[in-house]
Symmetry: C2
Subunit: 226 residues, 2 copies
DNA sequence: ATTAAAATATGATATTTATCATAATAAAAG
DNA sequence: CTTTTATTATGATAAATATCATATTTTAAT
């Protein structure tokens, strides 16, 4: 079993506040898991008795709507924690988590995490700040969905993927979303998403080859995203 | 100066966790304010060095979008606290708060609140749960904006106003929003909102008289909201 | 009370976006 | 390697929504 004390990823999450002693204890009670691309980590409505720490890979947090389509609320990647909100609220999770890559995740049982909450003030403050950050982002996204056009949202999302997850050697976006996923991230029909990508390609803003997307003109995309 | 120990409203917020001693101390450092309808409590970008406790009235939390229109992210009413996120994140507020009614609010300086955070575990847990609740709601709204039609969102919002803020003696919604505000709550153009209200009226779902809105057929509205 | 200003309402039209249909391409399975 | 299936792409059309114009009503101000 790998040791949390030596895990670099920890430094990027609220867990960075843990003491050496707490980390040793954590190593003993955590479990490590491999999650293959497409597999579900947890499902809306599940009772998840703890939190997941993402060691590698990216997953989508999705919410099913009344009409059966689902919406991608957020992408989460290595260094981040999953299931904090649910644990604090003492409610089932309100989102499903599905791997977009092959992932490595560690599960930390609730009992352990709650202990840190009580004893380690810095840890609980970190978690709170993270959740506050999520809330702020959610507010922003809400306004975008309410007021921006699909074209603007697509441009913005492409830039977000570029800036947040970076590019491969060939300049293509590292996170490879299907057109379907991209559409459910910006809140539109798959065909509309595909059509706009074609438009962007014709305008020389992006290059498409298979699932790969290369952003060619960042500044024009920024203007389009307003 | 009114005493917090005797304030009923406190029982409805995170402040219910405070001890008698803490409440006495709170009474000494809080300031009470009257905010007239339409007045601004704080503005996006402001540094608010504390939190507001709403004793009476309702306000809207709005966010300005790039195109100049603003979006109502949330309505907040008596018993609730304002500015918690900003205080925890140690960032300027990301939303503006504008009174929809004449309001009574109390301001509690940051130094005081942070003291409770450190010493009163129940209080900080309450605040966390509130923010987690806000995040869950934000996720829901996001999906609604992404996937529901304007008609569905209008029906849902009318029901929300009905269920959350109640009705007057004549069965009209207690919170009176302008058509403009209603539109910026559901994320549509003012004219579209007005048009749909007229449609609902013609269908016998609601009654309109001036600014007053009366919901006549809750179950049909529920079906419309899906 | 009268005028001015703002809010509400409705029609006409343009634009955006979704849906349905079908083709082309890519990926997976046998 | 070939067949099947899923994904991506594009056209045609329908539906939803925004915008512009203008009328009506309500509210506020003089």
């Amino acid at each position: 079993m790998s040791k949390c004390e030596q895990c670099i990823v920890r430094e990027f999450s609220s867990l960075k506040a843990l003491t050496k002693q707490e980390l040793v204890q954590l190593s003993d009670c955590k479990t490590s898991h491999i999650v293959k691309k497409g597999e579900i980590i947890f499902k809306e409505g599940d009772t998840v008795n703890g939190i997941y720490c993402i060691k590698d890979g990216v997953c989508k947090l999705i919410k099913l709507s009344a009409n059966g389509k689902d919406h991608i609320v957020k992408l989460v990647t290595k260094g981040e924690l999953l299931g904090q909100r649910s644990m604090i609220s003492e409610e089932p999770v309100n989102l499903s988590a599905v791997a977009l890559d092959d992932m490595q995740v560690c599960f930390i049982p609730k009992s352990e995490v709650m202990g840190y909450f009580d004893k380690n003030n810095k840890f609980s403050m970190n978690v709170m700040k993270t959740i506050c950050g999520d809330l702020k982002e959610a507010d922003d996204q809400m306004v975008n969905l309410a007021q921006k056009t699909v074209k603007e949202r697509l441009a913005e999302t492409l830039l977000y993927l570029h800036d947040t997850f970076g590019t491969n050697g060939d300049a293509s976006l590292k996170v490879q979303l299907s057109r379907d996923d991209l559409a459910s991230m910006i809140g539109t029909a798959t065909e509309s998403c595909i059509r706009l990508l074609s438009d962007f390609k014709k305008l020389g803003l992006i290059e498409l080859s298979g699932k790969k997307i290369i952003l060619l003109d960042l500044s024009k995309l920024k203007k389009l995203a307003e």
